[in-house]
């Protein structure tokens, strides 16, 4: 069979950069294959994708060496538009790529640009919409859609052309776990129906493995490190070495001393051959320590009977949040989880005082916060937005971090002292005189956290602190937050839909669904409770399945052992 995509000794160097970004790539992808390209940020995996859809070299200029054939064409000569007839690209940020005012228009966009007649557009849009099951949404506006629906619309938008290859750039990044799972299933379904070749770029390996993959291409430093069947790659230790998160059940098996082989088919926990390792896992569990620290500090934040609605007048109003009650102890790390639109962001906005509650109150150290202004609350409760670009307003790091203090009239030399102290905690001291622009995304994130920490708040609220970050940066940010929690005793609340985050770094999870608090429990308990996980659009952790397969009764406790073990490893590093 002839390859549909073939790289031959291919290298690319961006014009603005000194070194080549990808070197000597030799890769063949055959029609009908489903390939995962994985690798840490900056490894060159996105560059590789851009070569396939011709953004390189047509939009991003640079130097190409070697040969590339995609569906019998050379992307450099076909151009972005020409390639878009063969390769459908679904971008990561489905919000950003929404162009039309309604779903139908967005799906029709490529056809409109091709000056296809209106009658034909109607017909093709209908068919593409049917394929991804969004026919009833055609007249809706993008703002009304959930994350998963938006992604279906993006897919329909590229499927209106009869593409042969579908290219997904981090399709799971902004989705809650349950929706992510459904997306992977949908991709599989589309492949069958339309005989497509699929390339997925993603670092959430475990989620991608929900359905069979043909091959995993591991990329780092612009080179292909491995090109293997998933079973073989999972059995080895290359993944963790290259900074890719292994599926949790694989990690657990390895901790228990199991030497997995490709013949065990470790691709799916359900069908994997666990038998040889059952005793090992059981043994490991029985001998494991799991005295997770218990927090007995006094309560810092108390939320009582909190309700909120946008329409304050009418009788039959729709509640965004209804009768929320919970308490947070000093020094705790807490996660607020739930699907998109469950009310997580509204809850944090109420705590910060951005909105006024309809009823109920919020107490900090036993004092009612109702009458404090946003600014006054800001001294006690710091809020860090999702993207640092939404917060940074000064060109220099020192000024940015000191902004909150200078607004409060703190004397110049005290500002300097406190800023330097904070920069040291945040590991930014060496960069203190740098312009903000020169920093990486992760460093900017730290700057935005530092600019809040400098005011010494008692609580830090972070909105999706790790969204769109790969495992290495995720670990870096989370370890940093853990460190400041340990060193300063600050209480941290995180809004997230990342299950790994809540499992590994938070002591407790508040689960919201449709504006109500449905559970307040340890993350291990939440993620081993099928009913709760379903309602909150979370996904049961694969550790639960592993525990069941090994006849371990208390899956939640097994998960706790695992977390404790992981934390210990990490603090030893």
């Amino acid at each position: 069979m002839e390859a549909i995509i073939e790289f031959k000794d291919y290298s690319f160097k961006y014009r603005s950069q000194k070194e080549t970004t990808i070197h000597d790539i030799n890769l063949k992808i055959y029609p009908g294959e489903k390939i995962l390209i994985a690798g840490p940020s900056g490894s060159g995996k996105s560059t590789l994708a851009h070569c396939i859809n011709a953004l390189i070299p047509c939009s991003y200029n640079g130097e190409v060496k070697g040969e590339l054939k995609v569906a019998g064409q050379d992307p450099a000569t076909s151009g972005v538009f020409g390639m878009s007839k063969k390769v459908g690209t679904v971008l990561q940020d489905s919000d950003g790529q929404f162009i039309g005012l309604t779903v139908a228009e967005d799906v029709a966009f490529a056809l409109e640009n091709d000056a296809v007649s209106q009658a034909e557009i109607f017909d093709k849009v209908d068919r593409a919409a049917e394929l991804v099951d969004i026919k009833n949404l055609l007249k809706s506006s993008p703002a009304e859609l959930s994350g998963g629906q938006k992604q279906r619309v993006s897919m329909a938008g590229v499927l209106v052309d009869d593409v042969e290859i579908l290219l997904f750039d981090e399709p799971l990044a902004n989705l809650d776990p349950a929706t992510g799972k459904r997306t992977i299933a949908l991709i599989d379904e589309l492949m069958q129906k339309k005989n497509l070749t699929v390339i997925i770029i993603e670092h959430r390996l475990e989620d991608c493995l929900y359905r069979d993959l043909d091959r995993i291409i591991l990329v780092n430093d612009g080179r292909i490190i491995a090109d293997e069947k998933p079973d073989k790659l999972l059995a080895g230790d290359l993944l963790s070495k290259e900074g890719i998160r292994e599926p949790l059940y694989i990690s657990a098996l390895k901790y228990a001393g199991a030497e997995i082989t490709a013949e065990d088919k470790p691709q799916h926990i359900e069908s994997m051959n666990i038998l040889p390792y059952r005793e090992k896992v059981k043994n490991w569990y029985e001998n494991s320590e799991k005295n997770l620290p218990v927090n007995n500090n006094p309560y810092l934040l108390e939320v009582e009977n909190l309700s909120f609605s946008y329409d304050t007048g009418s009788q039959d109003r729709k509640y965004v949040l209804e009768d929320i009650n919970f308490r947070v102890r000093k020094g705790e790390i807490l996660s607020i989880v739930g699907k998109n639109g469950a009310g997580k962001s509204t809850l944090s906005a109420l705590i910060c005082g951005f909105y006024k509650p309809l009823s109920g109150k919020i107490l900090l150290n036993g004092e009612d916060l109702t009458d404090l202004s946003i600014k006054e609350r800001g001294e006690k409760i710091g809020f860090v937005m999702q993207s640092p670009n939404q917060m940074i307003s000064k060109p220099l790091i020192m000024d940015e971090v000191g902004l909150g203090l200078s607004c409060r009239g703190v004397p110049e030399d005290e500002i300097k002292e406190r800023v330097e102290e904070t920069l040291k905690i945040c590991g930014l001291y060496p960069f203190r005189n740098w312009p903000v622009n020169a920093l990486s995304f992760g460093q900017k994130k730290r700057v935005s956290i530092a600019s809040i920490l400098v005011m010494k708040p008692e609580i830090l609220i972070l909105d999706e602190p790790t969204a769109g970050q790969d495992y290495r940066h995720y670990t870096e940010i989370m370890e940093f937050l853990k460190k400041i929690n340990e060193e300063t005793g600050i209480t941290i609340i995180m809004i997230t839909h990342d299950m790994h985050l809540m499992l590994e770094y938070t002591d407790r999870a508040i689960v919201l669904a449709d504006g109500r608090l449905i559970t307040d429990d340890s993350p291990a308990a939440v993620l081993t409770d099928e009913a709760i996980a379903d309602r909150a659009y979370l996904k049961k952790t694969s550790l639960y399945d592993l525990a069941k397969l090994c006849d371990i009764e208390d899956a939640s406790d097994f998960v706790n052992s695992f977390i404790y073990y992981e934390r210990k490893i990490r603090s030893n590093v």
């Binding site: 859809n53 953004l55 939009s59 972005v80 538009f81 878009s84 690209t89 971008l91 940020d93 950003g96 790529q97 162009i99 039309g100 005012l101 309604t102 139908a104 228009e105 029709a108 966009f109 490529a110 056809l111 409109e112 640009n113 091709d114 000056a115 296809v116 007649s117 209106q118 557009i121 109607f122 849009v125 703002a143 938008g157 590229v158 906005a349 910060c352 005082g353 951005f354 202004s373 946003i374 600014k375 800001g378 001294e379 710091g382 809020f383 937005m385 993207s387 670009n389 939404q390 917060m391 940074i392 307003s393 000064k394 902004l403 909150g404 203090l405 607004c407 600019s451 809040i452 005011m455």
Partner: protein, 275 residues
């Protein structure tokens, strides 16, 4: 914060008209209003405008903010006319009827008042049509209609894209303002005016940077899907002209022509009650 004037989906006869019809109507209507100073005709236009406004089901809430702003500028405009050209009316109507002496050589004349009254009702002929045009025309259909009257599609698309992102931008602005306020940058009226202007800058730059991120994503997405490659483009949301559209277009052409004939019949744009 109240929402700026933007498209709202409703089911009225005005909404049903094609964007092309509304655009043609809007252009001819404004042109007519700008050219004529015939008070009788202006009165008729105000009445027609009010009827269309009723028909379009536009709620006061949608437009009140902008309406107030326009009123403010109208007031300034009228005052300026008076202070810079207090006897413009007398020149136009070739007579002078003093009503009251003010200061210096400023005095109020009946002609000046009548002239400024004309300017004022011109505002009132145009305002409702602008509102109706903006709140009843789907931005993407607007792009299709602009392209229909000969404006290049890249320009019309950019225009409608800008309209479409206004609500998003407002949302971002609010979020960023809240976060900055929590950091201690006082936005409320407690701070002085200069201080507030300076502090608003601390929202603008993050807003700009996060918008830039978005622009890059959107323009890549558009290019990947072939925007701008061909000279022509078709439109999903283009409406075929219905009989009602032809009727409206015919009406506005006849109306404008009639108005201009009546206006210029006696050789002057002005209706003169003083002779």
């Amino acid at each position: 914060m109240s929402k700026l004037i933007s498209y709202e989906k409703k089911n009225t006869r005005i909404h049903e008209l094609s964007g092309f019809t509304k655009l043609v109507f809007f252009i001819l209507w404004c042109l007519t209003s700008a050219l004529t100073y015939d008070t009788r005709i202006l009165h008729i236009m105000v009445i027609i405008g009010a009827c269309i406004y009723r028909l379009s089901g536009t709620s006061w809430k949608q437009v009140s903010t902008v309406f107030k702003a326009v009123m403010f500028f109208m007031l300034i405009n009228l005052l300026c006319i008076f202070f810079f050209a207090p006897y413009q009316g007398c020149d136009i109507y070739k007579s002078r009827t003093d009503l009251a002496d003010l200061f210096g050589n400023y005095s109020i004349t009946a002609e000046q008042l009548f002239y400024e009254y004309n300017v004022m009702i011109k505002y009132f002929t145009v305002i409702p049509t602008i509102f109706i045009f903006l709140v009843t025309t789907d931005p993407s259909e607007l792009a299709a209609s602009m392209n229909g009257v000969g404006i290049p599609y890249t320009v019309s698309y950019a225009f409608s894209l800008a309209l479409r992102y206004i609500p998003d931008l407002q949302g971002d602005f609010r979020k960023i303002r809240n976060a900055q306020e929590a950091r201690g940058i006082e936005m409320s009226s407690k701070a002085g005016l200069m201080e507030r202007i300076k502090r608003n800058a601390s929202i603008i730059s993050p807003l700009l940077f996060s918008s830039m991120d978005r622009i890059e994503v959107v323009s890549n997405a558009m290019e990947l899907r072939g925007f701008g490659k061909k000279k022509k483009r078709s439109w999903y949301s283009k409406k075929k002209l219905a009989p009602a559209d032809y009727a409206v277009i015919a009406f506005i052409i006849v109306f404008s022509a009639a108005v201009l004939i009546i206006t210029y019949m006696d050789g002057s744009r002005f209706y003169n009650p003083f002779i």
